[in-house]
């Protein structure tokens, strides 16, 4: 498989200022050294609870934030065997000049707030194209119409303001804006969480369709595991700024390893009758990312905690079949889980 993006030890700390002189007194460790590879043409699901750094990862990749430490290697179209370009510390102007900016796009969570309410839809969609600056007005108009058609809207919608649309239609416009510059990679930051189930299905189908058509790569950030199951080929689980497990979607649901993944899986309410299973319900909340616990970050909520977990931080290791797990007891968890909660995933 061809790599598209590679994150190496990526860190993002948000400073907390305090005192009279507004000095930095502490920091929120939103991303604390994550390693992740995104392959070309796949959809990688990124799941986890709120506040665990999912969105920060997405924003760091498309450079809405500058990371504190670490590298983001971008392998441009057609030279997969070559060394990637490190975009982590690249200046914005350089990004644009090298044509990387237009290749990395993002769709935001709430379509209501991610669009300027004073811009017409045609301007909303044309804005990224204008920024590229190589189109005449006629061409621009045609391209905008083409994009609207792609996402299932028509010419009638061109001269309207965002507030005149329903949530689903607004999200379609946001998708049209994201694919306007022919990107290779799109970060989907919970694109369906603000939508109803019936509209959610429409948007998910649209995204799958577009991915097949243009060979797009998605990073699909969400907390809804069934949505991720539907759309992604691989899933990465985050907990408190760390990636704890990466695996193929099938394996993720059939053979989860990390206790946190088990907890997430047994937490989802399944819309089917007769799926009775033992549930593993975690106690307590996610600890604060300002002072994450020592050792394994999950240890104070983990039911299978050992002495070692409290002291030493587990590193992600491949246990075969590209299945990365960061847990000290990764070979025992399955048995432990079966003993405690019954084998019924």
């Amino acid at each position: 498989m061809e790599k598209l993006l590679e994150l190496k030890k990526l860190k993002k700390y948000y400073p907390i200022l305090g005192g009279v002189l507004r000095r930095q007194i502490n920091s929120v460790k939103a991303l604390d050294g994550i390693d992740l590879t995104i392959n070309r043409g796949e959809c990688l699901g990124l799941v986890g609870e709120s506040g665990c750094g999912k969105t920060t990862t997405g924003k760091a990749i498309i450079k809405l934030h500058d990371p504190t430490e670490g590298n983001i290697l971008y392998y441009k179209d057609g030279n997969g065997d070559k060394k990637g370009v490190d975009i982590a510390y690249m200046k914005r102007r350089a990004l644009k000049k090298k044509g990387i900016r237009s290749k990395l796009q993002m769709v935001f969570q709430d379509p209501t707030t991610s669009m300027n309410p004073r811009m017409l839809v045609k301007n909303v969609i044309a804005e990224p194209l204008k920024e590229l600056g190589n189109m005449g007005s006629k061409m621009l108009q045609d391209r905008v119409l083409e994009l609207l058609g792609l996402v299932g809207l028509t010419r009638d919608h061109l001269l309207r303001y965002p507030h005149e649309f329903s949530g689903g239609q607004r999200q379609r416009i946001a998708v049209a804006r994201a694919i306007a510059t022919n990107p290779e990679f799109i970060v989907m930051d919970e694109p369906t969480s603000a939508l109803d189930v019936s509209v959610q299905a429409q948007i998910l189908n649209l995204l799958v369709e577009l991915q097949e058509k243009y060979n797009l790569t998605y990073l699909f950030v969400t907390h809804h595991l069934l949505v991720v199951k539907y759309i992604s080929q691989r899933i990465a689980v985050m907990y408190l700024g760390k990636i704890v497990e990466v695996s193929e979607t099938k394996e993720f649901f059939n053979k989860p390893i990390h206790p946190y993944t088990h907890a997430l899986l047994s937490g989802i309410p399944i819309p089917e009758i007769g799926m009775k299973r033992k549930r593993m319900i975690l106690t307590g909340d996610v600890p604060s990312p300002i002072s994450p616990p020592d050792g394994c970050r999950f240890h104070n909520r983990c039911p299978f905690v050992e002495e070692r977990c409290r002291i030493e931080e587990p590193l992600p290791e491949d246990i075969g079949n590209h299945h990365l797990v960061a847990c000290h007891r990764k070979y025992e968890v399955e048995k432990l889980f079966g003993d405690t909660y019954g084998n019924s995933h």
């Binding site: 239609q169 509209v199 429409q202 069934l226 949505v227 907890a263 989802i268 309410p269 399944i270 549930r279």
Partner: protein, 381 residues
């Protein structure tokens, strides 16, 4: 089974500048004792409006036009829509209580957690608490300055009989005559008890020293639940209580509901748009679309054998654990309720629409025992 709540032909309209929004269109529904009833539907279909109409907390442009909401409790039945505002206030939070969607906006940021939970005790159980304080005062263990003790005894005797007397209110506002500290203390103790029952960690400290911003989302939702459960309601209405929470926290809260249902409350109305929650926690389900109730049935029947076309597509459009292939979606959007489509409100999006659907509103019929459907497909058979 006996019903705890009967809703008959409830109509609620909102008078806005754009016209009259017909949010509820003659809804009839029975909720039985001891049942968790799930109310599902897309946003804007009138789920919240329905329960708010029951509680009579519809806000300004909204008016409950007609219908009956009959609440059966201890052998009496009362029509909630005909009650005076004062007796309704006694009922809310006491016999019927509600958990709101966002714990952030449901809690008051400037009152401590303990004050907010004990508020409902002070409102509904003051007589009981005053009697308890009085018993405490009469017991030999109470050592206070004697004239003050006489004063308190006199006041609490009065309060145990009628807790809303004017003189009591007046005295509680005059310095040196303030008498209700002991009642408040008792209420705080009761709130700590209920919070412990809901597994709030370190409940005493939380009640005394914390404010809403000190707590995490899941804990805040627990506090909101504690407020709702304070007076052991017979009917609990949960309006999307878990939709803003994370999966792991949501699982905690749902487990809590199941536990509570065994012990304290008898019936729950659970409003949600997550069909997964319905499948796991509810026994009966009502499906709403654009102000109409399409289908009411037991949860197994809804999921295994849905009858109404809307229920079918709704179930198809949710990703499932055994999902293979493409998701089906409902084309089009929820209609504008100022000018709802004539006849059956679902017909413009319905796969099985017939001529009659655009002309007549289908009546609700019982096709099996306990399975109610409002659709023309089943009317003629």
């Amino acid at each position: 089974m006996t019903a705890i709540l009967e809703i008959k032909d409830l109509v609620t309209n909102f008078y806005t500048y754009e016209g009259v929004v017909k949010a509820l269109n003659k809804i009839s529904l029975d909720i039985e004792k001891g049942v968790t009833f799930g109310l599902v539907g897309e946003s804007g279909c009138g789920k919240s409006v329905a329960v708010r109409s029951i509680m009579r907390i519809i806000q300004a442009p909204g008016v409950v036009e007609s219908g009956q909401v009959i609440f059966h409790s201890n052998g009496d039945s009362t029509d909630l829509l005909k009650l005076s505002e004062e007796s309704m206030r006694d009922l809310r939070g006491n016999q019927i209580s509600m958990i709101f969607q966002e714990p952030n906006s449901a809690l008051n940021p400037i009152l401590s957690i303990g004050e907010q939970v004990s508020e409902s005790f002070l409102f509904h159980q003051k007589k009981d608490m005053c009697a308890k304080v009085l018993a405490n005062l009469n017991s030999s263990g109470c050592k206070t300055f004697v004239p003050w003790k006489h004063y308190l005894r006199f006041i609490y005797q009065m309060a145990a009989k009628n807790d809303r007397a004017f003189i009591l209110k007046l005295l509680s506002r005059i310095p040196f005559f303030k008498w209700d500290r002991r009642a408040k203390k008792e209420a705080l103790n009761r709130s700590i008890d209920i919070m412990e029952k809901l597994h709030v960690p370190d409940a005493e400290n939380v009640a005394r020293n914390s404010y809403p911003h000190n707590l995490s989302g899941g804990l805040k939702q627990r506090i909101v639940i504690a407020i709702a459960l304070a007076c052991n309601p017979e009917l609990l209405i949960s309006d999307e209580a878990t939709s803003n929470l994370d999966v792991t926290i949501q699982a905690q809260i749902l487990e809590l509901f199941k536990e509570l249902k065994k012990e304290i409350i008898s019936s729950i109305i659970l409003i949600t748009h997550d069909l997964g929650i319905v499948a796991e926690t509810c026994e009966r389900v009502g499906v709403m679309y654009a102000g109409n109730l399409c289908e009411v049935a037991d949860v197994e029947m809804i999921f295994n054998n849905p009858k109404h076309p809307y229920t079918k597509v709704l179930l198809d459009s949710v990703p499932k654990i055994s999902q293979e292939g493409k998701l089906l979606s409902i084309e089009g959007n929820v209609p504008n309720l100022v000018t709802p489509p004539p006849g059956c409100r679902f017909h413009p999006r319905c796969r099985d629409a017939m001529d009659i659907c655009s002309r007549e509103l289908p009546a609700t019929i019982e096709i099996e025992k306990g399975h109610l459907v409002a659709c023309h497909l089943y009317l003629n058979k």
